[in-house]
Subunit: 614 residues, 2 copies
């Protein structure tokens, strides 16, 4: 069986002959970038085989790798199967320095109103005249004789009482004692709020006594190995029970890694964490709970459930107090998940009185409109363009990503995250670049690059070299090889512009449909809230320039940060907020856009870069 | 590592050098008779080592085995450790043909009122105009939108619905769907009622639609390997968490074996069994649930809990429908368990109007008195004498056990179970034999054998040989070597009589204390119910002769069979009965006898064989 060693991570594993290299990396616990689930179409799983002869390139490799790369041992991991011992160099994972996002960036404040209640008691010792059972003795002291108790805690109760002079603390959720602890531990009540993104998983440790965030951590969603988008993952999960289990195991494993990190940062004991809340899109919610998501993919996009699911931590394998409760907030529809519920909670949309739209652009785009006491939501296949997928040099918002682009005095000024040498372009950079190129007149309203041969007068001298023919149409060199991190030109292609047009057109059209249903014109909107890490970094002016948003005064467009994740924290901190969450699936009107002809009409118009007719 | 092969079971295992032979047999899954937890005091774990030289006998072996036995390779398994390969002959397990006990021998009839409800539905298919989630669709059809659902069932719901044209059956317990099944399965609702005895475990499979018992099975409680009495088992469990786990695993394993047998007999599918009820003494209840029983042993005999525990089958490892519910009925006190609750249910003592006492003699003796609307209970250390333990040739009521003895025309007439050659004496045989020997004048009221040397006139000619000096006082040969199964004399010793006196004295005294508390004389008793397999077979006349019971007309003494087990079945069949059970811990007044001086006084008087002063 061949061995494969990964550097610089220095991980080595032995695999069956014929194992795919991408799979082998996954088995070794490494994440290799990629968006196409190993189909060879995205070209992102570049790795370098060192100390071995040059392999015969596959069609996919010929398409995505230069001759020079191939000579230097670069391959696409998805194209290689293992038949002998090799050493593989994996480029440094870009998400190692994920751009930091703000905490509680939404409108709401955290309120301390935990589900878990703790009561410390000191019991009388048993005697022949008082033969009460240990449990009855405890419940009598708690003045809650009808409480239920976790079997595990009852099992150890007799010894615990006697080792601690009958002084213990009970942790109670609802009508159930989930933990009995030695002495007085009433000051220790913790919980973890997760935001399970398709791409990134974020966790926050909260001190529930004070409703304060005491630590945060984030990691890539390791389900990425099975495709960047939810459809790839649904497809994988639908193939077998084992696949579904695999996807569930991946996300639970990642959540456990984050928990470990959070506990290490704060030295909080695992058993003192009694609660987990999570938000995510409906597919993430199904996969986290191990529930068959198959029928989310084809029309009519039916989820297995919408309600919040509450499960014992031990049952899911989440390593907090084993009797702790894990609550995945409710979904609204197949493509409007509990992440949207989180946005609604964080932005108070279920209670606010103004006319307000919220847009959360993650791997999918969800939109909510609060108007005249109604709450409406829809989702659009905005696509993962804003997260860098389907974009030639797209990448997530991590160190070295082009994140801004200005057209000033006839020149483009570029900015990268952490000011590192550019290695790709992230969502906000993509929008900025398109807006800047529009400003510079290099892109036509239709979305085509100006043809420098046909219209040389439209292309200033200094851009003649940079606007060049590519594989499909023209492409513009944003950063030249000499200035980039990997020595290649970083370009914006005609294809990239098309992806951007599809994405921004879908979001704009979705918003128009919501307004139409509410019988509201865009002028009547009091505000548009931009949620998600992306929303935080996109420049309003650029978004307005490319027509992603209707033409509102910029002060009415407000970035609210990771509102979905904030919703998870709000629901963790307060049971009242959680009750509000539970009510949302029945309260929010869901509009299915895919079959509406009015949506298609607006969408087609909205793809152009000119300000759409409203 | 030495290998040991057990015949005739033909099981072979390899063990560490120095492993105790009793432990090795346990590891091989064999049950070897024994009452003393391997201390070498009961002498019952006789096995024969074949094809090896005679071992040097230990003190315990010298005490319990004859020279002839030792020459033939007989040893006590508990005294032997393994240092080489051997073949061990294990005598046929006596419980292989346990005496059959009646079903529902109590007063009550089974009523079909199952906890589990089944509803068959046919759902509309989803459409773009009806995107309801699968779960909501199901609940809408059940007209129970607030039902909870087992995660496992939700996980498989989408595929199940679509594979079965959206026609399914939901099994519901309380507010929870525990199973969703293809097609219409409303006619299949099964449950198992267990009676977890210290010595024997019995299981009955009930068709809960009709409340009929469709199969029964029984097996030895494999915890026997850790001692015949509850104190030995509590001691073992208290030594470590692993030991407690071991005892739990043993009983769960035995229960699973019975379930397998019941399903095999009836061809009922495992997943169609949704409920288990169990009764047992308080120690059995703790061990079954894996709960620390340590403080049941020392005064003040405090249990961890009294209430009924309801646990998911999968959690306990019981192999029925994994979401099925296992309910261990409530205990009343440390030594008055749910077996007594079962007796009360089966004999209707919580509702009947007469003055009625019930006595359940198992390994311990529990007594209940219903009088003037009050219910009182106590337990006595009757000891395991009635189950054959502590009795020289004692054995359980199985094939070959002496079960009856009459003194007619100057001769003793013996009867054995299944008319097999006698191999020991069981509880009913012991009482009969003592009564017959009292009738024959061979036992004095004090409990001593008549001394044939001092009072030769009291010992008829024909018994001169049979009443002979033993190790401690005299002994009487009940069956001579020539007529017995194993070629040894079967005797009743002075020590056996002492054990019998202690046991019957304790029960009689316990009953007197209950009557005293109720301010009732024994004449005012309308009936005495004898519960348990033992109660079914003991002859009332003999019980009256030896003074086990007060001198009531024999027609007022009624055997009610295995009432504890019947109570388990009644509670399984009917939720109303189960509710009655739940109320009993608070309703029954428990009397602690161990510290009452009035109990000690009556007990000492009641040990004599003369009719006690009342």
């Amino acid at each position: 069986m061949p061995k494969v060693k990964f550097t610089p991570q220095n991980k080595e594993i032995q695999v069956e002959t014929g194992t795919n290299l991408l799979k082998a990396a996954d088995q070794a616990g490494l994440y290799i970038e990629g968006d196409c689930a190993g189909r060879g179409t995205c070209g992102k799983c570049r790795v370098r085989i060192t100390g071995d002869e040059r392999a015969e390139p596959t069609t996919a490799e010929k398409k995505h790798l230069s001759e020079k790369d191939l000579d230097n041992g670069w391959v696409l991991a998805c194209q290689r199967t293992l038949d002998r011992d090799i050493v593989v160099e994996v480029p440094i994972q870009k998400d190692a320095h994920l751009r930091k996002t703000t905490l509680a960036g939404g409108v709401e404040e955290l309120t301390a109103e935990p589900m878990v209640e703790k009561i410390a008691v000191k019991l009388d010792r048993p005697a022949v005249k008082d033969q009460r059972a240990d449990l009855e003795r405890l419940l009598d002291n708690l003045e809650r004789p009808d409480l239920d108790i976790e079997l595990r805690e009852l099992a150890g109760l007799p010894a615990l009482l006697r080792k601690n002079s009958f002084a213990v603390t009970a942790a109670i959720t609802g009508s159930r004692i989930i933990s009995v602890e030695a002495g007085d531990t009433t000051d220790q009540i913790y919980g973890v709020a997760f935001d399970i993104g398709t791409t990134t998983i974020m966790g926050s440790l909260l001190d529930l006594k004070t409703a304060s965030v005491v630590a945060v951590a984030a990691t890539t969603n390791p389900q990425n190995a099975y495709g960047a988008d939810v459809i790839s993952r649904i497809t994988h999960a639908s193939e077998s029970r084992e696949n579904l289990k695999q996807l569930q195991d991946k996300v639970i494993e990642a959540a456990n890694m984050l928990i470990k990190d959070l506990l290490k940062q704060t030295r909080v004991a695992r058993d003192r964490v009694y609660e987990v809340t999570a938000v995510g899109n409906t597919t993430m919610s199904h996969l986290f709970m191990g529930i068959d998501p198959t029928y989310l993919a084809p029309a009519p996009f039916v989820p297995a459930y919408r309600r919040a699911l509450e499960v014992e931590a031990a049952r899911l394998g989440l390593r907090i107090n084993p009797a702790g409760r894990v609550t995945f907030l409710p979904n609204i529809a197949g493509y409007v998940g509990s992440d949207t519920v989180g946005v609604i909670l964080a932005t108070d949309m279920d209670r606010r009185k103004d006319n307000c739209a919220a847009i959360d652009i993650g791997t999918n785009g969800e939109l909510v409109l609060a108007a005249n006491g109604r709450l409406m939501a829809c989702s659009t296949a905005a696509g993962p363009a804003f997260e860098g997928a389907q974009i030639k040099h797209g990448m997530r918002a991590a160190g070295g990503a082009l994140e801004s682009c200005d057209y000033i005095d006839g020149e483009f000024k570029m900015g990268t995250i952490d000011d590192l040498p550019a290695c790709g372009i992230c969502g906000s950079g993509l929008i900025d670049a398109a807006a800047a190129l529009l400003d510079a007149g290099l892109i036509e309203p239709s979305g085509r690059f100006v043809n420098p041969e046909e219209n040389p007068e439209k292309v200033p001298e200094q851009f003649r070299e940079r606007l060049r023919p590519g594989r499909n149409g023209f492409e513009f060199v944003l950063v030249s090889a000499g200035d980039s991190a990997n020595g290649d030109d970083i370009v914006l292609t005609q294809g990239d512009l098309r992806e951007l047009q599809l994405a921004k057109g879908a979001i704009y059209a979705g918003l128009m449909i919501l307004l139409k249903e509410a019988e509201l014109s865009e002028d009547q909107l009091d505000c548009i809230l931009l949620a998600g890490a992306f929303g935080n970094y996109v420049r309003k002016e650029s978004a307005l320039t490319i027509g992603l948003l209707p033409q509102l005064p910029p002060e009415k467009i407000i970035a609210v940060g990771n509102a979905a994740g904030d919703g998870s924290k709000l629901a963790l901190a307060s049971k009242t907020v959680r009750e509000r969450a539970m009510a949302l699936p029945d309260r929010v009107e869901h509009l299915e856009l895919s079959t509406r002809s009015d949506f298609q009409d607006i969408f087609i118009d909205a793809m152009a870069f000119q300000k759409p007719k409203s």
